[in-house]
């Protein structure tokens, strides 16, 4: 596939390679304003020493999670949106899709893979936030559905990495019905007694939260992720007051009983592997 950064190999990168960083490639943490080189930032899994977890792509998560690049299979990579409503707002949806596909090299807001975590099979459906805010349209629903069928057929656990602003408005009610579609398919996965781990990453909001993201056998997250049904802006407008400190962070959601654990990105691989072992053994 060739897109792997190999974070985990990156940790052992020798110092001589570090010197090859081009000038100007720096990461400035939006939380603590600390500045480090991009390479150092990468080697730290794009996590600042203050604990700030920068958003990373689906493929970077695959790099963290799976054993060997060569053995990862991407499932149903060619599904694309059909724009059934011929939706037009300030732009045509079809143009928006085309431009986003060209810019990101992705076909839609989710990619699904089958790989191994310490030799244990796992199917991962990972949302692509850079594709129209990771919004859920018919392709997201269909790829999750097919991933579930695949998991049932091959008896492989499923993990969905949510990272989404919610519904894809340009697919209107089709988008809404993906909530039901994915939930309906998850009942089949549950009947087959196949584990489903829901990994809610920054941000997970709207219709994604109100469907598959909250339906894991276990729900897990990263530090500081925004997890909400109604986003903070909407809540603030509704109640006309400032929101409490830490509202709708993963820590807040854990405290209120909707998450099983929060795992720092650096520990994700090992904790996930151990979790899978609990189901498998």
């Amino acid at each position: 596939m060739g897109w792997f950064n190999r974070f985990r190999k990156g940790i052992t990168t020798e110092t001589k390679d570090k010197k090859e960083i081009k000038e100007g490639l720096w990461f400035k943490c939006p939380k603590c304003k600390n500045v480090v080189s991009i390479q150092e930032h990468n080697e730290n899994y794009n996590v600042c020493e203050c604990g700030y977890h920068e958003k990373i792509s689906a493929k970077m998560y695959m790099d963290i999670i799976f054993d060997e690049e060569e053995k990862i299979i991407e499932l149903n990579p060619k599904l694309r949106s059909a724009d059934p409503l011929k939706f037009v707002d300030t732009k045509k949806y079809s143009d928006r899709l085309k431009a986003t596909q060209e810019k990101t090299g992705l076909n839609d807001a989710i990619s699904t893979f089958h790989g191994k975590v310490d030799k244990q099979d796992l199917v991962v459906a990972a949302m692509n936030f850079e594709f129209i805010g990771g919004s859920m349209g018919a392709v997201v629903g269909e790829k999750i559905s097919r991933a579930i069928d695949y998991c049932i057929d091959k008896k492989v656990p499923l993990m969905i990495i949510s990272k989404s602003g919610g519904a894809r408005m340009m697919e209107a009610a089709y988008s809404l019905m993906q909530m039901t579609k994915t939930s309906a398919k998850l009942t089949q996965l549950a009947d087959a007694k196949i584990p489903y781990i829901s990994f809610l990453t920054d941000p997970t909001t709207g219709g994604v939260t109100a469907s598959y993201a909250m339906l894991g056998d276990i729900n897990i997250s990263e530090p500081g992720a925004l997890i909400a049904f109604a986003g903070p802006r909407v809540v603030k407008e509704t109640i006309g007051k400032d929101l409490p400190e830490g509202f709708q962070t993963s820590e807040f959601v854990l405290e209120h009983g909707f998450l099983d654990y929060i795992v720092p990105r650096k520990e994700l691989h090992d904790k996930l592997s151990l979790t899978l072992k609990m189901f498998n053994n």
Binding site: K78, L79, S145, A173, A184, K185, G207, S211, A213, F252
Partner: protein, 318 residues
């Protein structure tokens, strides 16, 4: 009667009618012919308006202040046999979500729906028909109760959305709706869902997973309200008419796109013009579909439900 802007021509005729009836009261003049003429004109005008209703006008009709709300439908359909049941058994009783047993011509059913308030005070009490997580959990509790005793479930949907408040987020609004979707798919008893007013997004869907999902003619159902859609995609509140059209949120568009199973026709001018007729029509549909659904086993209904919702969504693969 409250008249919407596009109903003005009807309003003029209604005024004329009222004046003439007053004349009749005060004098001995026979005005029956004139009254008949005006009534005919009103009907023609209503027909004309209803033929050319825009999606935005349908949205306005779905929110018409005189439109019947859930409890009014329930009382009429169950002939006052409704026993309201309260509470989610965890946190509280959500006044924006009502439910309970009722009798429909000898068949006990569980009726559940969002309830809007009929005046300023009641609108507050009902939280404008916007349920908190407790509301969805109360609905699920009642659905499970119905399932246990093999009673069909009817949900009546009318909400501007699930409530976006601090407590709602703390108590897991997203989880509550998600859980309902998951559990409703697996209900062994027949489930009929009817949009009687506003079908706004996840808040509507949270009680909207059924063997038959029907929309009344002048209602809307979509992922977002036209106003919010306008503010997000057009970055202004001014494009709600365009947004309403683009979202394809009317009953006829939803049926055409195979996202609902049927449309219940409303009396000319809307459900509020002739409530009894609207109630009767909803009842007829409920009875028809209950009969049809009783021909399947619980497992068959579940399988059909999963198949139906799994087929929703258009995409291409090359």
């Amino acid at each position: 009667m409250v008249l919407l802007d596009f109903e003005e021509p009807v309003g003029k005729l209604l005024n004329q009618l009222e004046k003439i009836k007053e004349v009749e009261k005060d004098s001995e003049v026979d005005v029956s012919k004139t009254v008949e003429d005006i009534e005919k004109k009103i009907e023609e005008k209503r027909k004309e308006i209803s033929k050319s209703l825009t999606p935005w006008q349908r949205v306005q009709l779905s929110r018409h202040p005189d439109r019947p709300y859930t409890l009014e439908y329930i009382k009429a359909i169950t002939k006052d046999t409704f026993i309201e049941l309260h509470g989610d058994r965890t946190v509280k009783d959500d006044k924006a979500m009502v439910g309970g047993f009722g009798d429909i011509d000898g068949q006990t059913v569980m009726l559940i729906g969002q309830q809007k308030g009929i005046n300023t005070k009641m609108r507050q009490y009902r939280n404008f028909g916007m349920a908190n997580p407790e509301g969805y959990r109360k609905a699920l509790r009642l659905m499970k109760l119905a399932e246990k005793f093999d009673k069909p479930i009817i949900t009546l949907i009318d909400t501007p959305g699930a409530f976006p408040g601090i407590e709602a987020e703390e108590r897991g609004q997203g989880e509550a709706i998600a859980r309902n979707l998951f559990e409703m798919v697996k209900l062994k008893v027949p489930v009929i869902c009817i949009i009687i007013g506003e079908g706004a997004s996840g808040g509507a869907l949270g009680i909207g997973v059924g063997d038959k999902v029907l929309m009344m003619e002048n209602t809307w159902y979509s992922v977002i309200s036209p106003e919010s859609c306008s503010s997000i995609l057009w970055r202004s509140w001014e494009h709600k008419e365009e947004a309403a059209a683009a979202l394809k949120l009317t009953s006829s568009d939803m049926k055409k796109n195979k996202l609902i199973d049927g449309v219940i026709k409303e009396p000319l001018g809307g459900a509020h013009i002739d409530k009894e007729k609207a109630f009767a029509s909803v009842k007829t549909h409920i009875k028809k579909y209950l009969k049809e659904l009783s021909g399947f086993s619980g497992q068959e209904r579940i399988d059909n439900r999963i198949t139906k919702f799994s087929e929703m969504g258009e995409f291409v693969e090359d």
